[in-house]
Assembly symmetry: C2
Amino acid sequence: MSSYASQADEIEQARQRIASAYDPRLLESAGHEMIDLLVSQLESCQQSVGNVLNWNSPGENVAEAARLLATGKNDGEEKSLSDRVRLLAETMLARGQNLQDPRYIGHQVPASVPLAGLFDAIGAVTNSVMAVYEMGPWATACEISLVEEIGKLIGYEEGAFSGFITHGGSLANLTALLTARNVALGESWKEGVSGTDPRPVIIAHGAAHYCIERSAGILGIGTDQCLKASLDDRGRIDVEKLEALIIEVQSKGHPIIAVCASACATPIGAFDPLHEIADLCEKYEVWMHVDAAHGGAACFSDRYRDLISGLERADSMICDAHKMMFVPALCAFVFYKNREHRFEAFQQNAPYLFDPSAPDIMEYDSGLKTIECTKRAAAFGLWGLWSAFGKELFADLVDVTFSMGQVFYEKLRAASDFQVLHKPECNIVVFRYLPEGLAERGADQIGEFQLRLRRKLIESGEFYIVPTSFEGVAALRCTVINPLTTPEHLDELMNALREQGRDLL
Amino acid sequence: MSSYASQADEIEQARQRIASAYDPRLLESAGHEMIDLLVSQLESCQQSVGNVLNWNSPGENVAEAARLLATGKNDGEEKSLSDRVRLLAETMLARGQNLQDPRYIGHQVPASVPLAGLFDAIGAVTNSVMAVYEMGPWATACEISLVEEIGKLIGYEEGAFSGFITHGGSLANLTALLTARNVALGESWKEGVSGTDPRPVIIAHGAAHYCIERSAGILGIGTDQCLKASLDDRGRIDVEKLEALIIEVQSKGHPIIAVCASACATPIGAFDPLHEIADLCEKYEVWMHVDAAHGGAACFSDRYRDLISGLERADSMICDAHKMMFVPALCAFVFYKNREHRFEAFQQNAPYLFDPSAPDIMEYDSGLKTIECTKRAAAFGLWGLWSAFGKELFADLVDVTFSMGQVFYEKLRAASDFQVLHKPECNIVVFRYLPEGLAERGADQIGEFQLRLRRKLIESGEFYIVPTSFEGVAALRCTVINPLTTPEHLDELMNALREQGRDLL
């Protein structure tokens, strides 16, 4: 046999091995099995049968993941493929964090609506992507229809705004601030930031999410040039001080790339006074950006939309559907008030991508607007959920979870052994457990106790809450972002903290 | 009823409405139905029953997506929820691009292994995320185990390298180049790029993916400072000219942030001579970066791994698993040869995220290494697939599809009415259809014909291929990235081009 024929033969054998992986019967059997496993997991979580967080040390988990990876083929010879797939799926479910357990009251990542995950799964199994319209015509259409509806709910003028989806709030803020930088500095895209003197600055909410300062670092502005706006006693931007800062910075000749407000800011969920900030930005001709990753979804709610009043005046804003729209990560929206800014972030030449024979379609080529070239059909989950239940579902989700912030606040205030550190505006509550004997100790000891208490609690699997720092001292932080979390769960959380705390003291 | 009681009542009603969306029975019925739809779709695609691309104009698709979005609740009253969900899923499948059809021979986005999509779906339905270890302990473990294995296959020294997954090749290249910038320029993260003079430059493969030049724009370096390395007649970096360019740039005092090689470059899939480039980078003490988004997976293949020999000498490199590892988008790896660089890209302070009481665990907090804060469990698809089939599957996938590039090349060369424009090194082939009567016309007409021919072909749904430009004239481009595409499909593609071309001439 010639070498060419031998090679053809080997390729044919490889092709046959591959065929089993692409067999529709495997998709069928494994798919139905996975659905059953997921349903069973959802039931257990909702009923709090197991642990919230399945705690294993990093070393232990990594060793197990590596072991399963290494034994792929060998185990396959002993067991059937379907047994192997089942084992892998069970392992994934057994060793993770269970957001669907109502005792998950932790980070701003939701117990997403399971149906949204199924719509996302259609994208995953078919590998639906975007970049150019023809690669994802339907994904593009879903995304655009959502952008239009959400933009209008925010209050942007129909036909005048533009938007897109990207992979997460950090990337969304980065892209919007890149646009702001390019608009503010003229030729910085081509020439770089290096020619600019005095140095350009970004003014951000004093407790903005870390990705805002990071954006300054990434964009060549420098984190030292990310100035922090002073906050008032409710954790919101102090507008008078902001005006003074703008005047000072402009008088020294520093270009201001953007004022970045928060709706809400991460630490205690404080919503900035957007109208007053917009007034200043108009007066001093500065780009207004709002990080509404968490709070933007208040646009769905009659009860809470006042929190984001003025958002429609922002030159750019971002909102994570994978937070308060309860879809799986990642699905973050970026909006520009003026659609003429939609191509400001990037310029590129890629003949193999963008077809010059169809210029009308370039408007629909997502890659021209996003850092991603190939992009997942990240709209599928939200589009499917909305089209199945109507947008009223999102109002309900915001209303139920935001209202629980107030409920929890009142419970904490009524308890003499808890210290609640702010009046919540939404579903984020920061507090400390301060039993008798601890309150009189120094701040360091109080803070250290909170951290140890939390770690003990989460490793027990009873509840999941997160650590933070409030006025320089460690504290506990909850976000009620599972709509099945009830007032009773919050009572139980307080009791669990008391019990775990007793052991610690 | 008091206003407080009335509010509590409304919240309770909202809670009840929400419950139906979280009902495990809905997940069960809709989930099994979706699996059946996906299986049926996969079968149709594999048998080429329908169109590859379901072409509808952007306007038409957007109108339909908006209509379904707007009618969510109303239609729900007429039909059952399960009918509605089925309709939505069917619409998603009916209006997309079908990568699983072997006549999809288009962009570098694979017909992913369906099972990988199912493992991803576990992440989507449970909303598995990362950022801090405790939010995704198992996702973290899967990612780390993959990083370790792939890094070793590439040839990095065990224990000395580091890596992570991010959302796409563009973001991966951006993150690696951010690290290179921070290393090269010292204080640029804090101080910005603005202090630097003469301006820093990036030297990139002359036909590097557009995201490299974009990175220069984003990072404050400026796209004008992204210098293009000259290419040889095979489309690879010309090493002699590269050395001359490095010497010239350094002699003028410009810091070189990185030399960016490609493995392979997008236009014709040319692999740069990595050892020779590494020699230069060592000699002149320049950071070597390799965009191995497409070709990195050659590390699995005995037959093709020579193409990336020297990759293990790159200071940083990226590789998209959602290309030649055949998992759904997005799953891109970044590697640093020296693990001490893993925290160079970012610095931040986020007390609500990173727990100072558990410093050992910060090594496992993915958010410290990635632009994403919250990140999908993007490793699930690849980890599950590898653990089910073993890494031999990836060797087979590379071997089968890369070998088809050569097969197609030979077919095109043998046909007098086709012009093949390069000898392929992998599964990317660029060519023109040049029937009698066209060949003697001017380049503009020849190019325009290719674009019109392609558009006609793809809108017919018969095949999906993409446009490109070769030496300034439009051409056709195929990537064989569905392992079910056989030599017979390539014959049929050539015949389809002939038939569609006849109508056009």
